[in-house]
């Protein structure tokens, strides 16, 4: 693989810096607090598991926004950590890069990989807002709709082949619809993702059971408690492509604190289902985001 993730990080940092030195409205921080959403596990603007149709960052149509995030998901037998950056351009286009580290802990030894064996994966994301204003169009049921792609490159080609995966890289395509129902202080999201990814891609793409694209559903509900607090839950279905280990659905229940537009912290209970023969992978999800 000749991807140079470092280059993209530099690119994103550059974009953020460029935004930082240009005139005031180049970073107008003009969106209302919380209406930029959070960053989901693969780096796109969204909830924790699902990408949303909202463009990340607090820039409006005349401006840009950007953020960095770090997330740790500690479940029964594994730890998934992610680090990444995302840029929202003119409330229209979103670019993101995230690196995921999947630590197999003691299970690595049991599976013959060695203790503490780690997979890592680069996720390059792009999202285009197609139509709708999910925040301000409160007199209609029409949601904000966006389409997106996540290109994922896993670094463990040989192991992936050994467990029955067909490929070490793959692209997910999704359509997301997001709507804030202000009268109810409730934000709803529905996403349909076409994917071949096993466990988000951490166990590769396609498998000996199935190698074709499957439509998967991802739903989110968030209740705004105040300008600075939200609670919610999400559900995400996943493919089941590998013979050696069944894969199930994931869900989370989260609480998010947004003391200001430039920082947010999310704590969640998460259940990722069964992973690599280990059942009931549940635990804690913690994420910190900084940006503008």
């Amino acid at each position: 693989m000749t991807w140079k993730p470092l280059h993209l990080i530099c690119g994103l940092a550059w974009a953020a810096a460029a935004a930082g030195v240009s005139p005031a409205q180049a970073q107008d921080r003009g969106k209302l607090i919380a209406t930029a959403g959070l960053i989901q596990i693969e780096g796109a603007g969204g909830g924790g598991l699902a990408p949303w149709a909202l463009i990340t960052g607090y820039g409006t149509r005349d401006s840009v926004g950007a953020n960095v995030h770090g997330t740790v998901v500690r479940v029964t037998n594994f730890t998934l950590s992610t680090l990444g950056a995302a840029v929202g351009l003119y409330d229209r286009v979103e670019l993101s890069y995230t690196r995921q580290f999947f630590d197999t802990g003691g299970t690595g030894r049991a599976l013959g990989l060695g203790g503490g064996y780690q997979f890592s994966q680069d996720v390059f994301g792009v999202k285009l807002r197609v139509f709708g204003d999910g925040i301000l169009d409160q007199d209609s049921w029409l949601p904000q709709v966006a389409v997106g792609m996540q290109y994922k490159v896993n670094n463990r080609t040989d192991v992936l082949r050994a467990i029955g995966a067909k490929s070490d890289q793959g692209a997910d395509f999704y359509v997301a619809a997001t709507k804030l129902f202000l009268t109810q202080s409730l934000l709803l999201n529905a996403t349909v993702r076409m994917t071949r990814a096993n466990q988000f891609g951490i166990l590769g793409f396609g498998g000996d059971r199935s190698d074709s694209y499957h439509p998967e559903f991802e739903g989110s509900a968030a209740l705004l408690l105040s300008r600075n607090w939200a609670v919610g839950g999400e559900y995400r279905t996943k493919p089941d492509n590998l013979r050696f280990a069944r894969e199930g659905d994931a869900y989370d229940l989260f609480v998010t604190w947004l003391p200001a537009k430039w920082v947010s912290a999310t704590l969640a209970y998460v259940d990722l289902g069964s992973i690599a023969t280990r059942k009931h992978q549940e635990g804690v999800y913690a994420s910190l985001q900084l940006g503008f």
Binding site: T183, Q184, D271
Partner: protein, 152 residues
């Protein structure tokens, strides 16, 4: 891990209950905002904040503030279901020359939120008023080509 499972089930039930709980409604939104006196204080508070808000105060340079103060109150009162007639211009006409961008619109929304917060209006009641105002962005905010950069 049974502990986690029961915690998650409890949390799920709590969330479902919270989602289903209808906002407490004493009567119309107008009543919940404190009637005529309450709406007056909310509108005044928003205008005072807007006039000293560095993001938008320049937009009010040429405005007749006293007239605006009266009209804002009547506009909010009528929107919230109160016994008021709004005698002013429509939103598109009133804001046509101001070259307003989304950031200006959201800035005044934040000033309104601060005003309602200071009046002790519960968050969910605040959002019921915002839900009525939000669609007005289509008339108030200038179309993208209008180059709002000309006036900050």
């Amino acid at each position: 891990m049974p502990v986690f499972s029961s915690v998650s089930r409890l949390a799920a039930m709590a969330l479902a209950a919270a989602l289903l709980a209808a906002p407490a409604r004493a009567g119309t939104l107008y009543d919940d905002l404190g009637g005529r006196a309450g709406v007056q204080r909310i509108a005044d508070g928003m205008l005072q904040r807007a006039l000293s808000d560095p993001r938008i105060k320049d937009k009010f340079q040429d405005a007749d503030i006293e007239r605006l103060q009266g009209l804002l109150m009547l506009d909010f009162c009528k929107l919230a279901g109160g016994p008021c007639r709004y005698p002013g211009r429509d939103m598109a006409t009133a804001h046509a020359d101001l070259n307003l961008a989304p950031r200006h619109f959201n800035a005044i929304v934040e000033d309104l939120q601060d005003s309602m917060q200071a009046e002790g209006i519960p968050f969910r009641t605040q959002n019921r008023l915002l839900a009525l105002l939000a669609p007005m962005h289509r008339d108030i905010v200038a179309p993208p080509g209008a180059k709002p950069e000309a006036t900050p």
